[in-house]
């Protein structure tokens, strides 16, 4: 039995009267102590959801419960929720210590106690020694750490992070992802993290809610989300995937046979696709496809003949682009330096293990 900290119940958000809905019928539970990421493209409703929990947007309908209490119409400063903004939103006229101490001073925490807690929070984000600097004297990564310390210092039940690493370069972003994850693990504080970067979501999260078009497509832990996507959108958005259109020829429970539009007939696990005669999308992860520079029969039963179009060497792995049948385009990833590659333009064969192909409804 998990301890639910935040619950969204049938939350809707529409702008203006009769305007487009930013969030449509949202139901989501966040357990105490977990790091929940809202992942989705821009305009999918993930930031609106965060803003409604923070109190900067009012839901048009539904309830938002924090520790069992409906806070949907509570003023933001009375919610006691920590927020980290993409633009940091530090107060430039205050020192780093004054910024971090601000939530405590607002709460009437005494000077000595405040100083001790500020020092502890700064140590946690590895900024001891920066207490007397001004925010504008710090780098982007350091500023975001100050913002994180400011959101954590008053020990809120949940901290919301709105694309906090969006303005940082790639190396710094990866470093900060791990740092946020470690802080989360050390403090056990509940976090809700919004991002459009699926790799970031996979790195950080205990669970991920994938948003699209104002609704949640799937909520799952990173591994399950990657291995068993619930629909074609999730399959295409989280990680790379080959999505091949086809038509269902036979279906027996979970197993189905699909004739791909480019020609070949393949076996796949049915996820949310329809019955015989319905069109569908077959998803196969690029790293699960084996390639050999031989004829199809050498890879065993079910192997497909293909032609290697191009091979891109990326250091740790090689990206292969192959054509299959009539206009089928397949991406394959494989570790560099393992086995010989077929000649570009030459004949090749591809195959994948049983259970690696999934059939999804194409009505996305």
């Amino acid at each position: 039995m998990t301890d639910t900290l935040v619950r969204f119940e049938g939350v809707r958000k529409t702008y203006g009267t009769g305007g487009a809905a930013a969030v449509v019928g949202l139901d989501l539970d966040i357990a105490r102590g977990e790091l929940m990421t809202l992942l989705g493209p821009s305009g999918s409703g993930k930031t609106t959801t965060l803003m409604m929990l923070a109190g900067f947007e009012m839901p048009s309908a539904g309830r938002i419960l924090l520790e069992g209490r409906d806070i949907a119409h509570t003023a933001p400063h009375r919610r006691g929720i920590g927020v980290v903004f993409q633009s940091y939103a530090l107060f430039p006229h205050m020192t780093v210590a004054e910024n971090v101490g601000f939530p405590l001073s607002v709460r009437g925490v005494g000077r000595a106690d405040r100083d001790a807690r500020v020092a502890k929070a700064l140590a946690m984000v590895r900024l001891d020694g920066y207490a007397d600097r001004r925010p504008l004297q710090l780098s982007g990564g350091q500023q975001q750490r100050v913002a994180l310390a400011r959101a954590l210092v008053f020990e809120p039940p949940i901290v919301l992070l709105d694309e906090p690493l969006g303005a940082l370069d790639k190396a710094l972003r990866e470093e900060m992802q791990l740092e946020i994850r470690h802080i989360h693990q050390r403090l056990g504080v509940t976090m809700m993290y919004v991002t459009h970067d699926q790799a970031e979501a996979l790195t950080l999260s205990d669970r991920i809610a994938v948003f699209e078009g104002g609704r949640i497509r799937q909520v799952a832990d990173p591994k399950r989300l990657y291995d068993r996507p619930a629909d074609a959108f999730v399959a295409g958005f989280v990680g790379e995937n080959n999505l091949l259109p086809g038509m269902i020829e036979a279906r027996d429970g979970e197993d189905c046979t699909v004739r791909l539009r480019c020609g070949p007939v393949v076996e796949a696990q049915a996820v949310d696709c329809g019955g015989v005669g319905q069109s569908c999308l077959v998803a196969i992860r690029p790293e699960r496809i084996a390639v050999a520079g031989v004829t199809a029969s050498d890879l065993g039963e079910g192997a497909l003949p293909a032609t290697l179009q191009e091979a891109i060497f990326l250091g740790d792995y090689v990206r292969l682009r192959l054509s299959v049948g009539d206009g089928g385009d397949i991406l394959v990833k494989r570790p560099a330096g393992i086995g010989a590659l077929p000649e570009p333009g030459g004949p090749a064969a591809i195959a994948w293990p049983e259970g690696a192909a999934f059939a999804f409804s194409d009505a996305v």
């Binding site: 933001p76 400063h77 903004f85 939103a89 107060f91 913002a147």
Partner: protein
């Protein structure tokens, strides 16, 4: 060539703007008694007269006192108005903006007549309170304009951050927003003070004998007896204005440096 021409035009325009002021200032140092050039000699007698006179000195204190009070009132009203306008959107903002800035464009004589009619029945004519309110109304647009300009450089997400820290709207304004726009607020207050300092039309209409301001006395002084003390009074006003202008420039530089 074009550059040289530009310089000539610029100097001519500057002369056009400054010549009347430059003409009056030396007269205040004249040892003679008439508004004539050449000066018969140099002396500070008109300044001595100014700073000992029962006619001028109370007017100077009136001007300074009314100016400070009017500037304070205009700042108290104009700063929240600017903050509200900054947060507003849409057509209503344009309307509200027009109303707030109206005293800037409506002819002062119209305002003066309207105030005389409005203040009469409620006993505000010939009172300090009445004159302070009237001058504050003229000063508000200047405060609104300068504070709005200062708010352009203020990131509104900071207000959200403040409320996420637990600060209510008032506290967020006073502790996060106001310290950052303070140079703009101060500049607005100075503009409002300067507006009151050289206002003469409303002072003529609604000030009683006790509230005579410096410009009002200069006007009277020119009508009754042409004394060169008027020139000294003018020099005092010009001096005050220059000081205020320098303070505004210093505030603006500080505001930019803080960003």
């Amino acid at each position: 060539m074009t550059r040289g021409l530009l310089w000539v035009v610029a100097v001519l325009v500057a002369l056009f703007l400054l010549a009347p002021i430059i003409a009056i200032l030396p007269l205040s140092f004249s040892s003679g008694s008439f508004l004539f050039y050449p000066l018969p000699g140099l002396s500070l007698r008109w300044y001595a007269d100014f700073f000992t006179s029962d006619f001028w000195l109370p007017a100077l204190w009136n001007s300074l006192g009314i100016g400070v009070a009017a500037a304070g009132l205009a700042t108290l009203l104009g700063t929240p108005a600017a903050f509200g306008l900054w947060r507003m959107k849409g057509a209503f903002r344009a309307i509200a903006m027009g109303v707030v800035l109206a005293p800037m464009v409506v002819p002062v004589i119209v305002v003066a007549v309207a105030l005389l009619l409005a203040f009469g029945p409620i006993g505000l004519v010939a009172t300090y309170t009445g004159l302070v309110i009237a001058h504050a109304a003229l000063g508000v647009p200047f405060v609104v304009v300068t504070v709005l300009a200062a708010l352009e450089g203020f990131d509104p997400v900071q207000l959200r951050a403040a409320s996420a820290c637990g600060a209510g709207p008032l506290r967020a304004f006073f502790r996060v927003c106001l310290p950052q726009i303070a140079p703009g607020v101060a500049a607005g207050a100075i503009f409002a003070f300067a507006t009151s300092l050289d206002e003469v039309v409303i002072a003529l209409f609604i000030a009683g004998p006790a509230q005579r301001t410096l410009p009002r006395q200069m006007f009277a002084g020119l009508n009754d007896s042409i004394s060169l003390t008027t020139a000294a009074a003018a020099a005092v006003l010009v001096g005050l204005s220059v000081v205020l202008l320098l303070v505004v420039m210093w505030l603006q530089r500080r505001g930019q440096a803080a960003r």
